[in-house]
Symmetry: D2
């Protein structure tokens, strides 16, 4: 989404070609909502990154990024999780390729409420338990872990853009913890 | 997939630009498995199209096609269902955007077993009850309705390519009717 | 749930035996969230019943009821939908037996937030498009159709008990329409 | 299912009362398909128990057992997994309460094809990655890990009863690995 700054890294496309594609095709993304779980698998906390957006503003966000040509969805998820949470995060991807939802980000914010000013992105969203130590890397300024009750507060909702606050609430609903 | 012949119809891309994109980006698809259901919603039959493939061979296939730029997934599904089953098919799309699976078609048939020689396609797969009358149109030569038991027979499996026989069995598993 | 008044109708159990079972076993329920959808399957309205609860108070609620011995889940859903919405409602049950969530109602309201003072109920929850005419019957005083935005308002939330307001929001999240 | 021998352990019901309930109510079960996954979460092996059935015959089976009164589904899953795989198995339950399917076991084998001669059981089925060491305990004679391709062979299918071979194939379909 609007939150991935180096989205062309590792691509076979030149920056020009990627711009061209973005003006003509929906782009495949993955969104990963990092969570901490207890010993029975129940979610106890949600992880939010702090990021500088392309326009210089600061925003809370989940892990998000593009799927590359000939890259498996699992590998794209692992690559973006490692990029944002560091190499020791030990993310536990779901066994199934079925996302809990599919988010349609449009340049026009009125179509779905999910908004990306740069492109039409179709994002497969997964909830990913994190078992290791996180070291926010690259573009992420910080990572905080917040309880389900707190993460849905108006305070955090206002710190997220493009519909990501709503996406976090949809993830909580899926795990049965929407307040 | 390999089964959609006029995949550039309605696009903003020239044929050259689409070729270029296909050589560099995963392309977003939808797969729809047409089914007949009884009054309690249980699947009684699966619909299979008969198609001439780009190489001139004939194959059984489900409904499949590309999502266009700025097109909603629902609208892409409706467009491809109408294109293949005619305007009176009355497809009943699921209320949720969650696909029952996501299929990764690769140019290399060994990666996932799902294969498209032309491109890397990521396809959101849905089971779609059809309530109206079907008139196979455009590229589809024919449409047949087959019981869950028969559609998994080796006979039909051999008439499907690219992994679509497996996709049909995955759909039957999802509705609890895998023999 | 607490909202089904004649839950013993059609059972093989005497009222005493059902009381006994309820004091010793989790009871299987189905919850159905009635929705109106547009021609592309997108949810436009949610249906809420108005009910007199066992204690004489009035509450908004979704369709809910027990699964009987040797009754298929589909048949239980159809039976409760017909009981509450009338015989011409034409509910369209999902093709898959996978519920969008499983709700655990406990006599102790602090365990999950879902509460049934009479029993431990485990409820399979489904979103069910309604295509026909509804005539609220039996215990339901009324049925209203409300937009996704309105149904999540504090006004309606306060009119639902036992966690059903939260269940409706979880259903909206599943269909991508949580405000 | 038919595979859980000490299903009354820990219950508040006398054996007589449980018999009575089983003759009159659907009983809530959980089925857990144990899997080994690689570092990206993809399933590499499925675990099957070897069990002596009530009638003295031997059968392969997945983990299965009853949900007790006032027991959370998560806790029932953990209890049965620990009972069958030992205390060091480190099962990783999914974050969501949404089962990948719901299995309806009937005393009559012709209703759904899932069969339990003793009762009408409604079972929530989950795929559970196992990260630790397994020591098959109690009723399980043995535990073997088998690749997705092998577990669907006719050999293993014949060693499973009550529809569990089909359940394993449905689980493989859900994770995208049905051969």
């Amino acid at each position: 989404m609007y939150f991935d700054l180096l989205e062309n890294a590792g691509s076979w496309l030149s920056e020009d070609d990627l711009q061209q594609a973005r003006a003509n095709l929906p782009i495949v993304y993955v969104d990963a909502i990092p969570v901490r779980v207890d010993s029975t698998g129940a979610v106890t906390e949600v992880g939010l990154l702090l990021r500088v957006l392309p326009d210089g503003s600061i925003s809370r966000a989940v892990v998000s990024g593009r799927v590359l040509y000939r890259e498996r969805i699992r590998d794209a998820l692992m690559r973006h999780l490692e990029k944002d949470l560091g190499p020791l995060a030990l993310p536990k991807l779901p066994a199934s390729p079925q996302p809990f939802t599919v988010v349609e980000y449009f340049p026009d914010p009125t179509v779905t409420g999910f908004h990306d000013p740069r492109q039409h992105a179709i994002s497969l969203a997964f909830i990913v338990p994190i078992e290791g130590e996180c070291v926010p890397s690259q573009d992420a300024l910080d990572l905080i872990w917040i309880t389900p009750d707190s993460v849905t507060s108006i305070e955090f909702e206002l710190e997220m853009v493009g519909g990501q606050g709503r996406l976090v609430r949809m993830a909580l609903a899926h795990v049965g913890l929407l307040p």
